[in-house]
């Protein structure tokens, strides 16, 4: 399950990357809405957001691009928007849900809307076709897990490490225990994200997780896109990476 930020370096490229990832056979694509103050994100994704915002990217344009794509292509995997509540609130929660539905998104991940604050929004979204994907952190205590499971739908986003997004060499050993515990408490698929960049890490998680989210390691390839040649190189590198990760997911 790859993650990319919309509009980096431009929306046309975002559409091309989504098609490329789709043909690599990924299960789901997360589309990040660039935000000026992303406190959960590491330097790679923040830089990607900044590149997109510096070009004057507007929320409306992201919806337009995604709508075109979901209308034209019928074999796309589900697209899930990763978007700060600051943006949703400004657009208006009801309006945002409607626009996301029309664009063809399958769900929303709102990283700064924790379980306690999600009730009103979860109630709104339950009347739509969208899922509200909730996050669980290594620091989440037992009593919070229950609360979160009550408002979660789609899948559970399990944060592998306490910290921000960004590739890491190792995953914490407690992760497997937490995933096994969650497995016993919910039927929702479990996806693991933050810190994952290599097929070997996918190997370790294959038996305990249903999905692996890779973000910074993909976004990094867009850092030096300045012209058509560098863009073609970036697309190729992203495709290779996706192929490797998809193959690792399907190994048994």
């Amino acid at each position: 399950m790859p993650y990319i930020a919309a509009g980096d370096p431009d929306l046309a490229t975002t559409a091309e990357i989504i098609k490329e990832l789709s043909s690599a056979g990924v299960d789901l694509i997360e589309v990040g809405f660039p935000y000026s103050d992303p406190i959960a994100d590491g330097p790679v994704i923040q830089a990607s957001y900044t590149r997109a915002l510096d070009k004057g990217l507007k929320v409306e344009q992201i919806f337009e691009t995604v709508q075109k794509l979901t209308t034209a292509e019928d074999s796309l995997p589900p697209l899930v928007a990763m978007v700060s509540f600051a943006i949703i609130f400004r657009v208006g929660p009801e309006a945002f849900i409607k626009k996301a539905e029309v664009a063809g998104f399958s769900g929303l991940i709102v990283p700064d809307l924790p379980g306690d604050e999600a009730e009103e929004f979860a109630a709104l979204i339950s009347g739509s076709s969208l899922d509200l994907v909730q996050l669980i952190a290594p620091t989440t205590p037992d009593h919070r897990v229950e609360k979160i499971l009550n408002t979660a739908s789609g899948f559970l986003y399990c944060i592998s490490v306490a910290g921000i997004t960004g590739a890491r060499d190792e995953l914490p050993p407690e992760l497997n225990d937490q995933l096994r515990d969650l497995r016993s408490r919910t039927d929702l698929p479990l996806a693991v994200g933050f810190g994952i960049s290599k097929p070997e890490q996918v190997d370790i998680l294959r038996d305990v997780a249903d999905g692996i989210i890779v973000g910074s390691a993909i976004v990094r390839h867009l850092e030096n896109v300045t012209d058509d040649a560098s863009k073609a190189m970036a697309l190729k590198a992203i495709r290779q990476m996706a192929d490797g990760l998809v193959a690792a997911t399907h190994r048994s």
Binding site: Y35, S36, D37, P38, I39, A40, G42, P43, Q46, T50, L53, K58, V59, E60, S84, F85, A86, I87, I88, F89, R90, V91, G92, P93, E94, P111, D112, L113, P114, G115, D116, E117, E120, F121, L124, Q134, L135, I136, A137, P138, T139, T140, P141, R144, I148, I159, V161, A162, G163, I164
Partner: protein, 410 residues
Amino acid sequence: MSSPFLSSPHTVATSQVPDERGRFGEFGRRFVPETLMHALEDLTAHYANVKQDAEFQMELSDLLREYVGRPNPLYFAERLTEHAGGAKIFLKREDLNHTGAHKINNALGQALLTMRMGKKRVIAETGAGQHGVATATACARFGLPCVVYMGEEDIRRQKLNVFNMKLMGAEVRPVTSGSRTLRDAINEAMRDWMSSVKETHYIIGSVVGPHPFPMMVRDFQSIIGLETRLQALEHTGSLPHEVIACVGGGSNSAGMFYPFVDDKNVVLTGVEPGGKGSAPGEHASTLVHGEKGVLHGSYSYVLQDSSGQTSDVHSISAGLDYPGVGPEHSYWKDTGRVNYVNCSDDEALEAFQLLARTEGILPALESSHAIAHGIKAAGKRSKDENVVICLSGRGDKDVYELARILRKDI
């Protein structure tokens, strides 16, 4: 463009806020990643304990007396009063605190709390550097390792404070992302905290951020308003007619106003940085010009564009250069309890020099905003009325910047 979502009717402001979810009326709450939620719950519980704990409160008040030098005076500014030509002007002298500003009240309270929680490391953000210095000071006093995040642009504007922090053993980490000011320093401190939350406490410097920070910082700063009440009664036999303080994130003003919230006859006025004008990017007047939104973990007034992206802001004062404001201020604005106005860079600069000449006091550029408005407000009142202005910090840190602007060599 306010959404009915999140809203609840505002009636009359009360001091009985926030509720257990951190709501000041509709404002506040916790819009942060799940990774931080347990730490915030934990902090809320620990803070509730120490609030009731006589030993903790005694330790803090001893420190405030012996180490900070409280109570500081409520000083009658006779020549400034003459200049304004109206009500008597009193200055609450937070500038006379150890480290030269009100920030130490909160930093010491939170440093004591850090130790109560058994945490071993402290991080902080700073704009003008006053909160960074206060936190570095508290950490030096208690032997806690301390990292201060500070925007590159602010490091340039506030070299003296950067050097002071280093002298006290703090590590100052320059923040190069975004606007390189206070807002980005908060982002970086939050990111650090996400990865280090088990052993680290984040001493936030203003009444902003997720619950319980806005409440806790207000409480630690309320010593300002509590002393002012008693001193005003001693000096004049009555409560002041008007109390004025500057508002960036809003900590000195929250601490000053809170003890007066239920005294309906006391007029409360917050002064925001008006910068160079009213166009977006020229000011940081969040309450005067902003709209409701979410920033840095709480729901409050913010300066944003129509897509929810945080606007660039400007103020001559690094401590007020912030696109958000504490949620309790938003509550006070919407209930009409506090009146929010702004004053320009130029008016603040003028007030700085005026206070220096009339009273022999160099105010911080932040506090100069309150002085500038206070002179106008006092001028419109009769001579038998009293106005209190919070002189939240001293201006030594600003003289290099002032000389640069006035094109004078030092």
